[in-house]
């Protein structure tokens, strides 16, 4: 077999690795997307007091510690069979909404957005946040910094710290907020709504109005017809903090809706010997390999999945954008992976609206933010929607509340199989007869960047975000080009 290798010869820099093998005709025979590290949270959290889990699992990912903090908080509530008072729940969701605004902003302006704002074929040196600021102006750059600042400020007010929040405990939180803090949070939230609207308008002006970009989004190369997962509230509207997990099929119809505690009846993880990361799939559909369609248990969990899996958004401005989204892209579900970027901005608007809703809730300043657990701790599952996918924490404890077993099915991990498929499809489509077309390389990069993959998070296993470098070699081993991807 003739071998063209896509290999990070700079193996020691890359925290992700792609190998592409060609057959005799020079077409793609197979691709491997490998994750090279394991930190082992499932093992070393055993023996720890369960109330430390929201603090320990923060350290899975410093980009979205809030997501781990919240999934862990809900899991430890469940372990203690304690109902968090309404104020406690609302404070956590308020923190989480502000975090979402920061996180989605970072992705759009610093990661995914540059591909569109600067253009898919812009020089690598300009395809970053500084390039974006130069192009759209310092004023916009200032807004982006402001948005990140406001989000982190709310995280700090409620969570005690900007990074790795510390206030969620079994039964609620260690502290509440004052009226003065509430006002400050509300003011920042109102600004965030305007910022989200501005971002959607920018996406419309720069991306949707550009036919070449639009063609890229709706084109076949970034399309996979898989199942889609997302958390929904009691009205089947998108919810990041609480609800049931809903999965729709490639036809858009509900396949299953499950309670967090039942996740293991629906999710299994396939193992391959050539990577440290597992491949989750829908257990009752089955693992059929890296293929899409209704008979393959492969599913996706991203902003686009959440929109596909829900019947709408729970806030008015985001709902209007949701309707516009599906009408522009030909109805539900949307299978085109690049539409994840657009979906992310609709979620940004929802998160900002929810932020203000919660900040103006009369209960939010109540001192009733913690209920002391009274039951014997046993076992519990907590699920939230991390920005990069459904996040499941499951703990077992002894009667003292000391952890005896842990299972984590984390954000990006959900998307390991679909990302692998997207890479293969891009390579399949574009590498023919041994020719590596320069133009395809950035398009391969865009295929995985759309997922906003964070393999630190995903695998609770690697350096927080994955600086992925792929070097393309010709058959003689000469480097042709280098692809890069960063989580944040």
């Amino acid at each position: 077999m003739q071998r063209i290798t896509i290999d990070p010869i700079t193996r020691l820099e890359g925290h992700g690795k792609i190998e592409i093998f060609l057959n005799e005709e020079g077409n793609v025979a197979n691709t491997y997307f490998q994750i090279p590290e394991l930190r082992g949270f499932e093992r070393f959290c055993v023996g720890r007091p369960v109330e430390e889990m929201p603090l320990l699992t923060n350290r899975i990912c410093g980009v979205c510690p809030e997501a781990h903090h919240m999934a862990a908080a809900k899991a430890v509530d469940a372990v203690y069979h304690v109902e968090v008072p309404p104020t406690g729940k609302k404070l956590r969701e308020l923190l989480y909404s502000a975090f979402y605004c920061t996180d989605h902003t970072t992705h759009f302006y610093a990661l995914g957005g540059p591909d569109f704002i600067m253009g898919p074929d812009a020089p690598v040196a300009e395809r970053n946040i500084l390039g974006v600021i130069h192009k759209v102006g310092l004023e916009v750059g200032g807004k982006v910094i402001q948005m990140r600042k406001f989000g982190h400020t709310v995280v700090e007010i409620i969570g005690g710290r900007k990074i790795h929040p510390c206030t969620s405990i079994p039964g609620g939180l260690t502290k509440g907020i004052t009226e003065e803090q509430r006002k400050e949070i509300e003011t920042m939230g109102r600004w965030a709504i305007e910022f989200a609207q501005f971002s959607l308008k920018a996406f419309n002006d720069i991306v949707l109005s550009n036919k070449a970009y639009l063609d890229l989004i709706v084109g076949d190369i970034y399309t996979h017809k898989t199942y889609y997962m997302g958390m929904v509230d009691e009205n089947n509207k998108v919810n990041f903090y609480d609800g049931k997990v809903r999965v729709v099929g490639p036809d858009g119809k509900e396949y299953v809706k499950y309670e967090p505690k039942d996740y293991a009846e629906h999710i299994a993880e396939h193992v391959e010997p050539w990577t440290y990361l597992k491949f989750p799939y829908l257990k009752n559909v089955g693992w059929k390999g890296f293929v899409d369609g209704p008979d393959s248990g492969v599913y996706m969990a991203t902003p686009l999945s959440r929109l596909n899996a829900a019947d709408g958004m729970a806030t008015p401005l985001a709902q209007a954008e949701y309707e516009k989204f599906f009408s522009a892209l030909g109805g539900k579900p949307v299978h085109q992976r690049l539409a994840i970027h657009w979906a992310r901005l609709i979620e940004l608007l929802y998160a900002a609206e929810r932020w203000v809703e919660l900040a103006t809730d009369p209960e939010i300043t109540s001192p009733d933010f913690h209920a002391i657990p009274t039951a014997t701790p046993t076992e519990g599952v907590g699920i939230v929607e991390a920005p990069r996918g459904t996040l499941t924490h499951h703990y077992w404890t002894d009667e003292r509340g000391v952890v005896t077993k842990v299972n984590l099915v984390v954000g990006t991990t959900n998307n390991y199989a679909p990302i692998t498929m997207s890479i293969k499809k891009a390579a399949d489509s574009l590498i023919k007869k041994g020719n590596v077309n320069e133009g395809l390389l950035n398009m391969v990069e865009m295929a995985f960047r759309a997922y906003d993959p964070c393999f630190g998070c995903a695998t609770h296993s690697l350096p927080g975000q994955m600086p992925l470098e792929v070097t393309i070699l010709d058959p003689d081993g000469n480097p042709i080009n280098v692809l890069k991807q960063y989580c944040e």
Binding site: L38, E42, F44, P280, H370, I372, R400, P463, G464, P467
Partner: protein, 326 residues
């Protein structure tokens, strides 16, 4: 005149150190003005081969975060050490192993076995990841895990230590100012081996909670009480690590009602964090009856984790015997 060069890198870490640096917000423009940022995966596209092509010592300042979990991490640590004049061990993972260092309580085999036998894992053939694996199309490889997680200074020489999980952004900003001033001849850098960007006392000294003569009859769990928001947490029986932990964070967690978990590492002059904390906890136990003392100590449900939560890899112990055996 060309500007001094700046690099930042992550090994086995969570990315929080990077976010902490980004959270100096506008000050990042000062970094941009003062330095030529040559390598910083989080913020810019720079090529690894560019680093390899550099002269030894060409990078003026390198902030290195993350622990040494595998052979890849060690290789890049050695490379950046060679290319950097000032190598800062940045954040808890690099300085003392941090939470991922808790893996040193068990063997690497145990860790991998656990990850690949969870209840959702579909693994009928009991597969484990292989460093080198032959596929029909050819051999593919992934890095080899170290039996023990190591700190950065257990692998390369380090000039300064900057503790915290992550280091507080105001401390990062202060260090940036100091280095820029030193480069302009307006300040002097501290002696090699110093801890920078942190205080030289303990979290207790920064904590505004009221303290009395500390004495407790029982250790408690934070979720099983409504803690007094004004009073020292340790005095209320909550195992707070403030007495042994280095200051510099402004006691953020205790102010927010949560116990200090020790992320800033050992206070100045403390050789072994766990030993210091054991002494501190022992001193507040209000009893001279051995049986009662035993009973009080039973309230600490996880002594090993309590005393070495962030710094097992960097402690005198470094690991359990099972980890040393691999």
């Amino acid at each position: 005149m060309s500007k001094p060069k700046f690099a930042m890198y992550w090994a086995a870490s969570c990315g929080g150190c990077e976010i902490a640096v980004l959270n100096i917000h506008e000050k990042i423009l000062d970094v941009d003005a003062a330095f030529d940022v040559v390598f910083w995966p989080v913020a810019m596209d720079a090529k690894y081969k560019d680093v390899e092509a550099m002269q030894d010592g060409e990078i003026t300042l390198c902030l290195f975060n993350g622990g040494m979990r595998n052979d890849e991490n060690e290789h890049i640590a050695k490379l950046l050490r060679k290319k950097s004049k000032i190598m800062v061990s940045f954040g808890s993972c690099a300085c003392e192993g941090c939470i991922p260092g808790l893996a040193n309580f068990s063997s690497i085999k145990d860790m991998v076995d656990t990850a690949f036998t969870t209840i959702t894992t579909d693994n009928p053939d009991n597969i484990r990841p292989q460093a080198s694996y032959t596929m029909p199309e050819g051999i593919i490889t992934i890095p080899t895990l170290n039996p023990m997680l190591k700190t950065l200074d257990q692998v390369v020489d380090v000039d300064y230590y900057m503790p915290g999980c992550p280091p507080e952004s105001h401390q990062i900003a202060a260090v940036v100012d100091l280095v820029i001033a030193a480069l302009n001849g307006k300040a002097e850098l501290p002696p090699k081996g110093s801890t920078i960007g942190a205080g030289d006392s303990t979290v207790c000294d920064e904590c505004p909670r009221k303290r009395h003569e500390k004495s407790i009859k029982a250790f408690g769990r934070i979720q099983l009480m409504h803690a007094d928001p004004e009073l020292c947490l340790l005095e209320q029986g909550i195992p707070c690590n403030g007495p042994a932990t280095r200051s510099g964070c402004n006691a953020r967690c205790p102010i927010a009602g949560a116990q200090c978990i020790g992320c800033y590492g050992p206070a100045e002059g403390v050789v072994d964090y766990g030993a210091r904390l054991i002494a501190a906890f022992a001193s507040v136990i209000d009893s001279d009856k051995p049986e009662e003392i035993d009973h009080i100590l039973d309230g600490l449900v996880d002594p090993a984790g309590q005393f070495y939560r962030f710094n097992l890899a960097g402690s005198l112990l470094r690991s359990s015997k099972s980890a040393q055996k691999g």
